[in-house]
């Protein structure tokens, strides 16, 4: 009954489900629910596979941080699976593979094992994007993903060469022992770039436009919220424990991320396709999350990831469903989408307001608190950049909302079936509820993910 089941069972069922193609989505939902139940039963603690000593043995760590991440990922996958049973049934096994990869990614504290799970979830991601019927974009994503993960492997191996261990805890102690940051810069950069490709950070995410630009109701939410959330969690864990940026590396990374935030929002401001607006805004959000981790504001970064994941799911589902029925996703052609379906419109508006960070919604509390934390750390210039970006973001989201609420010249009618509506209402209510009642948000603090003790077979 250990944490390994979270990875093993989805993997096993993934391969079994290939045999019984028809029942794949149902299997997926069952496994997802099983994982969720397991998560509530398991206690925290590490797991060693194969009983070997630390450089050889692969060990997984389940603590509050990874528990939150896993609940979010599995829940979202189950929700997306339920919504897409009808038209993307045959992707059930791929989603199972993705679930296994992502669970493993979040759980493992062994660097090489991290690389393996990164590749598994990568492959699952390439297969998911292939559902967009745009092979060139998928190939683009595959090539970049492969390069990214091999760079990551390169970094890991250099670290292994220097410190002889692959385990998180041991590595952290070894680095701390001979604290000469200069020699560690190259591997950390390579690993940061490797992860940056997957986590959609600015210079490395040219695949995002292709992958999400033509996404559908299954691939959009999967890539934009599930993968983004998982990789943000993992990137956060690595930045917060392993990298601990200093000196020139810190300045370069901060510059990269700030440029990422500003440019992400400017790109969204300049695009007229609705999906492009959403994907560039999620690029900007990802850079903000990374920036928060770099500055040590871990607690609010976690809440930001969750809030963004939920809002982006709603937004992508709404827009992708509408684009499928209308055919083109230009804001002009989608005009007046909400005139007919008020409920979906309300949910979309609340999600957008939460992403913009306006009061009465959870986005505002998170934004206010992480800005106060940044101000406490004296980072005024970062606050200025984030706020300018949020101003530009506010303007293009309002421009989008105003177009969607009021009908243009041609009449469009998009029907959302009941299951979509239920999901939207639940998420919207959650955003609204936590917006005003913020007590539970203060429970976790910045040291939520301290990977310190070395998990040995002892």
């Amino acid at each position: 009954m250990s944490a390994i089941l979270l990875v093993a069972i989805p993997l096993l069922v993934a391969f079994l489900s290939i045999l019984v193609k028809k029942y794949a989505p149902y299997l997926l939902i069952i496994v997802g629910l099983f994982n969720l139940v397991m998560l509530f039963l398991l206690q925290d603690g590490g797991v060693i596979i194969g009983g070997f000593d630390q450089p050889l043995g692969i060990n997984l760590l389940l603590n509050l941080y990874s528990r939150i991440a896993l609940i979010l990922i599995n829940a979202l996958i189950v929700v997306i699976a339920c919504l897409n049973i009808k038209d993307y049934g045959k992707y059930g096994s791929i989603l199972l593979l993705a679930m296994a990869g992502l669970n493993g990614l979040v759980l493992t504290v062994d660097l090489f094992n991290f690389f393996v799970f990164l590749e598994i979830s990568g492959i699952a991601a390439y297969l998911i994007t292939s559902s967009n019927k745009k092979p060139t974009n998928t190939f683009h994503y595959l090539a970049l993903g492969a390069v990214g993960s091999s760079l990551f492997l390169f970094g890991v191996i250099i670290l292994y060469a220097m410190y002889g261990t692959l385990n998180y805890g041991a590595m952290i102690e070894a680095i701390a022992a001979n604290n000469n940051y200069a020699e560690v810069v190259l591997p950390f950069t390579l690993m940061f770039i490797g992860l940056g490709v997957e986590a959609k950070l600015l210079p490395f995410n040219s695949w995002v436009k292709g992958a999400l630009g033509h996404s559908n109701t299954m691939s959009g939410p999967m890539i934009a919220s599930v993968y983004a959330a998982a990789l943000s969690f993992v990137l956060g864990r690595m930045i917060d424990n392993l990298f601990l940026f200093q000196g020139t590396l810190l300045t370069i990374v901060t510059v990269l991320l700030t440029v990422g935030i500003l440019l992400g929002d400017f790109m969204a401001f300049s695009s007229t396709k609705t999906r492009e607006i959403l994907l560039f805004s999620s690029v900007a959000q990802a850079s903000i999350v990374a920036l928060l981790f770099v500055n040590g504001v871990v607690a609010w970064a976690v809440w930001l990831i969750i809030a963004n994941a939920l809002s982006k799911t709603v937004m992508f589902l709404v827009i992708n469903k509408a684009t499928k029925e209308v055919g083109c996703d230009e804001t002009k052609s989608l005009q007046g989408l909400f005139t007919k379906n008020i409920l979906v419109g309300l949910a979309f508006t609340l999600a957008t307001l939460s992403v913009m960070g306006l009061p009465l919604l959870v986005g505002f509390m998170i934004k206010l608190n992480f800005l106060t934390a940044l101000a406490g750390a004296g980072q005024i210039w970062l606050i200025v950049a984030i706020l300018i970006a949020s101003l530009v973001e506010g303007i293009y989201f309002v421009r989008l909302l105003v177009k969607l609420w009021y009908k243009g010249e041609n009449e469009i009618s998009v029907k959302y079936n009941l299951s979509f509506k239920v999901v939207f209402v639940v998420i919207a209510l959650a955003l609204l509820a936590f917006g005003s009642y913020t007590a539970p948000m203060n429970q976790i603090d910045n040291s939520v993910d301290a990977v310190t003790e070395v998990v040995n077979n002892g």
Partner: protein
């Protein structure tokens, strides 16, 4: 014992109830909104004047409230304008697309306003400030144009972003999030930066010179019952923040402009205020849409408020506070009159309207009283506030600001008269023969506002005494006002007895009336029978002179009237270009570019570390 927190919770609850009621039937929902606003206003007025509202908080998690005279002064004015406007809802909401959300957002923004003025914590102020912005933003697109909401939201959020940066600058330098102590604690260059940031927020919300583009767009195109709220009430938020900056932080105390012993910051704000007065007046004279014209007048009155609060003496502050009240009432009344005309005729364009006085005389009287106060003419409230500001500027001897102020006050007479002549007077157009006077429910607020305009003009002592409390709270000497409302300024330099002026004016009118009555009764003739050098004109449109009313004046400055609009359009274009550049650089189709970026970063880093 009404408590602030209950008021806010009641309002939020009432907004959801209003949503449901309006879904059932518009009239019911709007009446409910009127009752809700009336209840809130009554409890505020009842307990607020004596600072009697209790500030205990037991539901809202991290909110703390405290009462100040300054905050209460703003809340009572804005709540009053909200109440007056809510009377209009039953008649206007019928033709809006999302009428149920209209009532809901209307009450939500009122809750935000009550919260914003009763807090002493910066973050809470920002919370309510943003709440007001996005609730009012969703109301604007229900009017004529959609882009109005985007530009309104853009400028308001720009203002609130500047304020937030200022707040965090205070927090990071002094660790205080409390308004009074935070503003007192900062000093040196931080104080200057925070001063500038707060002023940007004030200017954005007030629609003063550099950030005024959204004012005509938003007020002109907002739904008819909402533009009085926009210009009467929401503009005062900017004034509140401007006061925070101008009165509480005096950043450049040492850099005095020696000839008129005023800190440099204050002097620059006075100059910007006067530019917005002149610009607002010139643009208002040229404007053809009545609501846009009144929007520009709000801009110029915003300029007056800024000048008043940048003169650093109690007479100017008293003038500024009084002007906030007088302008709020006058512009709300004027906008409501225009809304009544727009409801009856469907347009606010001056070239399509004329002769409304024949069918809507009471609306005409309401508009007349409003513009007398806006132009600052004696029997009405506007005169007293303008007089106080004039005396302060004269006492300080600021010549260039004085030019702008005098130009503004005479210019305001020009542009407020224009809708009066074009909309109301003149021949009665054929197409508006069927028009009826506004219904009784809509006339109640007009009568109340007319009475209030006259009251503030004739007996200002009660209001000026309350303003003295505010001045005391801000640490300035009180204004010398006797019980019979005789105002003595700069110990004798200027003495004003508004009651006497109104009495003498009444006596004069009585004498003129006697002369008029004694003489022979004159033969009443239709408006078509006018002296047209004996040409036979039968189409009343030809006889109605309302298009380009001040043509010779407009010709003098028509070439350079849109500096700022071009500036903001190019700014938006620049951001788009940067976005496209980003897409070109980072989002290109072939993989080579991304690889290039990866390689450069690695090389850059190694070169950086290795050195």
């Amino acid at each position: 014992m009404a408590s602030i927190e209950y008021l806010i919770l009641i309002l939020v609850g009432a907004s959801f109830l209003a949503y449901l009621f309006t879904k059932l039937n518009t009239y019911l929902g709007s009446v409910f909104t009127i009752l809700a606003t009336m209840f809130v206003f009554a409890s505020l007025a009842g307990y607020g004047f004596g600072m009697g509202l209790d500030t205990t908080v037991n539901y809202l998690p991290w909110f703390t409230f405290n009462q100040t005279y300054l905050g209460f002064y703003f809340v009572i004015i804005i709540a009053f304008v909200y109440l007056m406007v809510s009377f209009f809802h039953p008649y206007y909401l019928g033709q809006y697309k999302y009428k149920d959300s209209y009532n809901m957002l209307f009450l939500l923004s009122l809750a935000g306003i009550i919260g914003a003025f009763y807090t002493d914590n910066f973050l809470q102020l920002f919370f309510f400030f943003e709440l007001i912005i996005w609730t009012t933003m969703f109301l604007i697109p229900q009017g004529k144009s959609r882009e109005a909401a985007v530009s309104y939201f853009g400028f308001s959020v720009a203002g609130s972003v500047a304020m937030l940066i200022g707040i965090f600058l205070i927090f990071s330098s002094t660790g205080q999030l409390d308004i009074t102590s935070g503003l007192a604690a900062i000093s040196g260059t931080n104080a200057i930066i925070v001063f500038i940031l707060f002023l940007i927020a004030g200017f954005a919300k007030l629609g003063a010179f550099p950030l005024h583009i959204w004012l005509p767009i938003a007020h002109g195109n907002a739904p008819h019952p909402f533009s009085p709220v926009l210009s009467g009430a929401l503009v005062k938020l900017g004034a509140f923040i401007g006061i925070l900056a101008l009165v509480r932080i005096v950043p450049t105390a040492n850099l005095l402009v020696d000839s008129i012993n005023l800190p440099l910051g204050q002097w620059l704000v006075a100059i910007l205020g006067s530019i917005s007065i002149v610009f607002g007046t010139l643009m208002a004279i040229k404007e053809d849409d009545a609501k846009k014209l009144l929007a520009y007048s709000s801009m110029s009155h915003g300029g007056y408020i800024l000048v008043a609060f940048s003169l650093m003496n109690s007479v100017a502050f008293a003038g500024g506070f009084y002007h906030i009240l007088a302008h709020a009432i006058a512009s709300a009344a004027a906008f409501m009159a225009i809304a009544a005309v727009a409801r009856a005729t469907g347009t606010t364009k001056m070239k399509e309207l004329g002769g409304m006085i024949h069918k809507m005389p009471i609306t005409y009287l309401a508009y007349l009283v409003a513009i007398i106060s806006m132009a600052g003419i004696p029997p009405m409230g506007g005169f007293i506030s303008k007089w106080l500001i004039f005396m302060a500027v004269i006492n300080k001897g600021m010549i260039f600001v004085a030019i702008a102020i005098f130009f503004g006050s005479v210019g305001s007479f020009l542009y407020v008269f224009r809708p009066l002549a074009a909309l109301f007077l003149g021949q009665e157009f054929r197409e508006y023969k069927h028009v009826k006077e506004a219904p009784i429910m809509m006339l109640i607020p007009t009568f109340i506002l007319m009475g209030l305009n006259v009251y503030t003009g004739v007996f200002p002592s009660f209001i000026l005494n309350f303003i003295n409390n505010i001045l005391g709270e801000l640490g300035y000497a009180a204004l010398n006002v006797t019980s019979s409302s005789i105002i003595n300024v700069f110990d004798g330099q200027g003495i004003l007895n508004p009651a006497l002026i109104s009495l003498v004016f009444a006596v004069g009118v009585f004498i003129a009336f006697i002369i008029f009555i004694l003489l022979k009764k004159s033969r009443s003739v239709s408006l078509m029978d006018t002296y047209t050098a004996a040409n036979f004109v039968h189409d009343e449109h030809l006889l109605h002179y309302s298009v380009d009313f001040y043509a010779p004046l407009e010709r003098l400055y028509e070439k350079h009237t849109n500096w700022m609009t071009k500036f903001y359009e190019s700014l938006a274009k620049k951001v788009k270009e940067i976005g496209n550049l980003g897409k070109y650089l980072f989002m290109s189709k072939n993989i080579g570019t991304t690889m290039l970026w990866i390689i450069t970063i690695i090389i850059l880093l190694l070169w950086g570390v290795a050195l």
